[in-house]
């Protein structure tokens, strides 16, 4: 009876359906997809460009809904996620599954009909990758889960690019690689100071499985690879001096902050100033870097 009264006879509220799409994650997806679209050579009609971004956002929302449909048991035991519609009992799982599948199909069809079928297939693959390969298959079985999850989050700029060009060249692959190598340091920095929650949920997050010391060293290792990948478009002549200067400056700070994390010894979350600093800067880093990709292309053109 309690469940029925919470979800009112199985009818979820519009607000909860919206929350199921993880709007805050979606804002990053919209931004990176838009940057990929604007950085691509060639032109796209504003209406078609808008539709492409809309389809990518709906696809990301669909992935998030399918993720929460599968993970309601994990979400229920973690403080950060226990208020989500499913673990809080405001929606039944079937609704989330139907909503997720419906939104996936609609987003892919919209992309195919309005933009092109290559980017539609790409979008379909990214939803499959996040919902099945990451959420269902690898998240609970390997401490490298976040690396795999990062790949799912790295698709939007490449899909945005493909919406304009209809193909994928080296530059969108590098944009993909930047988010791919950015995700582990970004997420593990967070996981270091919210460690206890993941262990409670039984998710093999790196600090739980390999320990803090190894995680901190891996953060630094991934940061070095990230710096190399970030500077690559400039060195290879795929981007100009504006991007080059931004990439070098931002990556130098990123590596400096992750070096402080690598040297940190503390096990108390309240003392983890270095980890918190890196986490905050990592968000700024990605926004600034992608803005630089677009600014570089706009000014150079």
């Amino acid at each position: 009876m309690t469940t029925a009264s919470h979800s009112i006879q199985g009818l979820a509220s519009a607000r909860d359906l919206f929350a199921l799409t993880k709007p805050r994650v979606m804002s990053l997806v919209i931004f990176t997809a838009l940057c990929g679209l604007l950085a691509a050579p060639g032109s796209i009609h504003p209406v078609i460009g808008f539709t492409a971004i809309l389809a990518i956002s709906l696809g990301a929302g669909a992935s998030a809904a399918l993720n929460q449909w599968y993970e309601s048991d994990i979400d229920a035991v973690m403080k950060r996620t226990s208020g989500r519609p499913l673990p809080a009992g405001r929606m039944d799982r079937e609704t989330a599954l139907h909503f997720g599948i419906g939104l996936s199909v609609f987003s892919v069809l919209l992309m195919g009909v309005a933009v092109n079928w290559f980017s539609a297939a790409f979008l379909a693959f990214s939803i499959f990758f996040y919902a099945v390969v990451y959420t269902i298959w690898l998240k609970r079985s390997t401490p490298q889960n976040i690396v795999i999850g990062g790949a799912a989050g790295a698709f939007p700029p490449a899909i945005g690019w493909a919406a304009v060009t209809g193909d994928v060249t080296l530059m969108p692959v590098l944009l993909f690689a930047i988010i791919f190598f950015w995700t582990p340091p970004h997420f593990w920095a967070l996981a270091l100071f919210v460690n206890s929650d993941y262990s409670k949920a039984g998710v093999p997050m790196m600090p739980v499985v390999a320990g803090r010391r190894s995680t901190r060293h891996q953060i630094f290792g991934y940061s070095m690879v990230l710096a190399a990948v970030t500077v690559a478009p400039f060195i290879l002549g795929l981007a100009g001096a504006i991007y080059g200067a931004a990439a070098i400056a931002l990556s130098a700070i990123f590596c400096g902050l992750s070096w402080q994390v690598a040297r940190s010894q503390t096990s108390e979350p309240k003392d983890m100033a270095a980890e918190k600093r890196l986490f905050k800067f990592s968000i700024l880093y990605l926004f600034a870097l992608f803005a630089a990709v677009v600014a570089d292309r706009m000014i150079m053109a």
């Binding site: 009112i8 509220s13 209406v47």
Partner: protein
């Protein structure tokens, strides 16, 4: 069939009111989204026809 399925049991007055309010809210949002899609598909069609000619 002696047990009462709480999901199918008749709703109390307050429950029914809340249920109908939620139905109405969802219907209004759905109508807005459909209208948005109609306009979007109209614009896409115009752009596609323009590009084809």
């Amino acid at each position: 069939m002696s047990e009462i399925d709480s999901n199918k049991a008749p709703m109390s007055r307050e429950e029914q009111k809340a249920f109908q309010a939620r139905q109405k809210q969802r219907a209004i949002i759905m109508a807005g989204l459909l209208l948005f899609m109609v306009v979007l598909f109209y614009l896409i069609t115009i752009v596609k026809i323009g590009a084809g000619s």
